[in-house]
């Protein structure tokens, strides 16, 4: 090549990780723990990727704060009255920012302690073995032996909605919490739209949510999605299903939105619009065309079960390879990629990846869902335990929950677990362990769970399968002794 600018002799590196999100930093740290010399390249000043900066962490911080507001309001019927909360957006934002700073600082410290070199700058593949990094102090070239690509994804913004107007937001801007708009339109009833719709509705926005499909949280079993829809229907101004937004335009200080509702074209004005219609991989201007890496029709990088791309020197993990775009999926793939590069026999294909939606109530599931079983014609038996029969749920004033087990007939093996209800995200871990361990309904039923806790619903659900649940009497299925 010989085109390297003077004074930029390529840095020789063993391993390079591009992107410092929950996939990238996990990969860099694990590789360092396994004795490799690693350079972690990140274009943003603050490490942590979308998860930490504009995803999981800030959204959960806001959801926690707004849940407190709802709790205080609902306390009135329990005889505890608070005065109307006053929201100081600037302080709420600062508190949230503080959390992000602290976590990002933690990642940087952990990198230092492990001897992982962090390089800030935008990366570009010159070829399969060379990464050009645009740093503040100029271009640097890294010649690497192995690369783990972890550049993540960003919220999709269809061109029809991309007005260049800050009033049309994606989740990234919505989490900045610039103001509480009077009228907010949320386009897309997936988990991001539902979670952020909940935050803004609690802060006082009149939220209208539109979803193009016939149900919110598509892919989630209907019985698990129902309590969330019921909550949203009460908390939001409106939830419109089967509605497509066709156009948006700037209308003074508002956004003019055209949509079709029940066959009639309608134009409405909103102070802000949140577009949450999916995510696209960050593959543009990356120089991937200079490598042998291949991408699928939607632009995601194609990998095998060992996270290897078509380019033998490059592995890819996390959102950029598609599938469930979740931080913990990226972290698992990080470990698999590192182990595969170390020559171990591994695969990420069989990992059970739980999904959690932090709506109110939370929804969480893992393994096989009932809908998937029906679609693939996999024979299953399903046991359900409604939380109205849980003492703990009642003391929390949250009987709007359901725990269910998807079981393999015959072996009674737990193939999937679904939970909707308060704290479902924390409860699902037991379900993930059950599926990973190949546990049977009997294993869950025979494991003593502490009382009174929501975790009992998993045990009792297994007992429902045998017709012996203590707190739920469904029908006569007497077992004679």
């Amino acid at each position: 090549m010989g085109s390297d600018p003077v004074g930029s002799d390529p840095i020789k590196a063993d391993w390079v990780v591009l992107g410092a999100g929950p996939g990238g930093y996990a990969a860099a740290f694990y590789a360092a723990d396994r004795g490799r010399k690693v350079i972690l390249v990140e274009q943003e000043k603050r490490l942590g990727g979308v998860c930490l900066n504009s995803g999981c962490i800030p959204s959960k911080a806001l959801l926690h704060a707004t849940e407190l507001m709802r709790e205080s309001k609902e306390s009135a019927k329990r005889g505890i009255r608070f005065s109307e909360p006053k929201v100081d957006l600037a302080q709420l934002r600062a508190w949230k920012e503080g959390i992000l700073e602290k976590l990002a600082g933690g990642i940087r410290t952990l990198a230092q302690r492990r001897g992982v070199e962090v390089m800030q700058g935008r990366g570009y593949f010159e070829d399969s073995r060379t990464l050009r990094v645009e740093t503040e102090s100029g271009q640097k070239f890294i010649r690497f032996v192995k690369m783990i690509l972890a550049v993540g994804s960003k919220p999709a913004l269809p061109t029809a909605f991309d007005l260049g107007n800050p009033r049309v937001m994606t989740s990234t801007e919505a989490l900045e919490l610039e103001e509480t708009p009077r009228d907010l339109l949320v386009v897309g009833g997936g988990y991001i739209g539902m979670e952020l719709g909940t935050v803004y509705a609690t802060l006082g926005s009149r939220v209208v949510l539109v979803e193009a499909m016939g149900s919110i949280l598509s892919g989630v079993d209907p019985d698990l999605a129902r309590p969330v829809l019921q909550y949203a229907q009460a908390a939001f101004k409106e939830v419109r299903l089967n509605v497509k937004v066709s156009k948006m335009a700037t209308g003074g200080k508002q956004i003019k939105v055209a949509m079709e509702v029940e066959g009639k074209k309608r134009e409405e004005l909103y102070d802000r619009v949140l577009v949450s219609v999916g995510r696209t991989p960050n593959c543009a201007d990356l120089g991937l065309e200079n490598t042998k890496v291949t991408r699928d029709g939607k632009g995601f990088v194609q990998v095998n079960g060992k996270q290897q791309t078509a380019d033998s020197a490059i592995a890819a993990i996390g959102d950029v390879v598609g599938g469930a775009m979740l931080a913990h999926k990226a972290s698992k793939e990080a470990r698999v990629a590192v182990e595969a590069l170390l020559g171990e026999e591994v695969s990420s294909r069989e990992a059970v990846i739980p999904a959690v939606v932090f709506t109110d109530p939370e929804v969480a599931w893992c393994g096989l869902t009932e809908a998937e079983a029906a679609e693939k014609k996999i024979p299953v038996e399903v046991a359900r335990f409604p939380w109205a029969a849980s003492g703990r749920a009642l003391t929390l004033d949250r009987p709007d929950g359901l725990t269910k087990l998807i079981l393999e007939p015959g072996s009674e093996r737990v193939l999937g677990v679904g939970i909707v209800g308060h704290g479902a995200g924390d409860l699902i871990s037991e379900g993930v362990l059950a599926v990973e361990m190949g546990a049977t309904a009997k294993d869950l039923a025979e494991t003593v769970h502490p009382h009174p806790t929501l975790s009992e619903t998993l045990m009792e659900c297994a007992e429902v399968f045998y017709g012996t649940s203590t707190h739920l009497f469904l029908r006569r299925r007497t077992i004679e002794s």
């Binding site: 026999e345 072996s411 361990m437 007497t478 004679e480």
Partner: protein, 380 residues
């Protein structure tokens, strides 16, 4: 249609009727639970095998019923005449009905992957058949204590003269595995005999041109099949398999003959279905078609499966007696040589299932069938 108690699980041969969920005259959907049955382990729903109307209920609550016993009679339109799918609601370790890999914890799966073990080969002792670390250890020990896989010392044959090396192709590897499996697990005995086929040879000479006109060839293999069919029907144990798990002999009520075909790559055995229901002309056509497709390697996986008995005819090459290896899970194979002038016959059989006297009778009946093969069978 009759709904009988299916075999629910190994060792679960009977149960108590705890609930009857239908009444005479009720219309039921396919798979609708008609009654519930209990044994020591669980309560099992008995589903309707098809949609229909309940005509009669043969049991009452509290009855103890055993496998095969009539439970309910179903009538009505759209009820296909077929046996109810047996359900196995409480087997100890049924194979995964959902197509999921065998149950094992992540650490065990990782260990197996590193050791290169196939978890599906390891019997699990845990709840629901879960594979534990003890199971893996036990399996490894069984592998180690098994007779040492041949690891002959590496010999440098080039020391003694020039050699060439050629690949042991996937087809050859498959043949090797199948032969070794059969040879090492089945006690083989081969019964020899000869049959006077001068009559048949004359028939072939006489009618061969007729078959040519119809676009096919009248061959000795086709005639041997025709002669073989009544003998297989007379001695059904030769048209069988041994279920070592349940310790049962499975007699097949169909005759699908494996035909050993010599291809460039090696031996392939396509299956000629329902040989007992085809006349000589159809058989000749199908034999020709199968052989051509096989040699062109255009045979489908399905056409290689389901055989009940195999014929290996070396006559075309000029072979005499030989000892063919049984095509497992079948229990017998017939080897045929070149008529000179008597036709060499060699019947290998699984001595676990078949005794020598039966084999002697079988081969003698076949010989006689060939020696007295009627012209009417050939005449078209």
């Amino acid at each position: 249609m009759e709904i009988r108690l299916p075999q629910l699980a190994e060792g679960a041969d009977s149960g108590t009727v705890v609930n009857i969920l239908v009444a005479v005259g009720d219309k039921v959907r396919k798979d609708q639970t008609v009654l519930e049955l209990e044994n020591q382990k669980a309560v099992a729903p008995i589903p309707a095998p098809a949609a229909g109307t309940i005509a009669q209920i043969h049991v009452k609550q509290g009855d103890v019923v055993s496998v095969g016993q009539m439970l309910v009679t179903l009538t009505g339109e759209g009820v296909p005449e077929q046996k109810p799918e047996p359900r196995t609601p409480f087997a100890e370790r049924p194979p995964s009905s959902s197509g999921f890999p065998p149950p094992a914890s992540p650490s065990i799966r990782k260990m197996a992957k590193e050791l290169g073990l196939d978890l599906a080969q390891i019997p699990g002792s845990g709840n629901g058949g879960r594979i534990t670390s003890e199971d893996v250890r036990g399996y490894l020990q069984s592998l180690q204590s098994a007779p040492a896989r041949r690891a002959p010392p590496k010999v440098d044959f080039a020391k003694w003269g020039p050699v060439t090396r050629k690949p042991f192709t996937p087809l050859r590897q498959a043949i090797a595995r199948a032969m070794e499996e059969s040879w090492t697990t089945i006690p083989h005995v081969t019964q020899f005999d000869d049959a006077d086929v001068s009559g048949i040879l004359k028939l072939i000479e006489k009618f061969g041109p007729e078959y040519e006109k119809k676009g096919t060839r009248l061959t000795l293999t086709g005639i041997v099949i025709r002669a073989l069919v009544p003998v297989l029907k007379k001695y059904p144990v030769f048209n069988a398999s041994l279920d070592e798990g349940s310790q049962e002999i499975i007699l097949k009520q169909y005759i699908h003959l494996g035909i050993a075909v010599d291809t460039e790559g090696g031996l392939i055995v396509p299956v000629l279905r329902d040989a007992d229901r085809k006349n000589l002309l159809d058989l000749s056509r199908e034999l020709q078609d199968l052989a051509e497709k096989t040699r062109a390697r255009k045979i489908s996986m399905e056409q290689l499966q389901g055989g009940t008995f195999t014929i290996s005819n070396q006559g075309g090459i000029g072979g005499g007696h030989f000892t063919p290896i049984i095509h497992k899970p079948e229990v017998a194979i017939l080897g045929v040589g070149r008529a000179r002038p008597k036709l060499p016959l060699a019947l290998s059989y699984d001595h676990r299932v078949i005794d020598g006297a039966a084999a002697a009778r079988f081969i003698r009946d076949l010989g006689q069938g060939l020696e007295t093969f009627p012209e009417s069978e050939v005449n078209i």
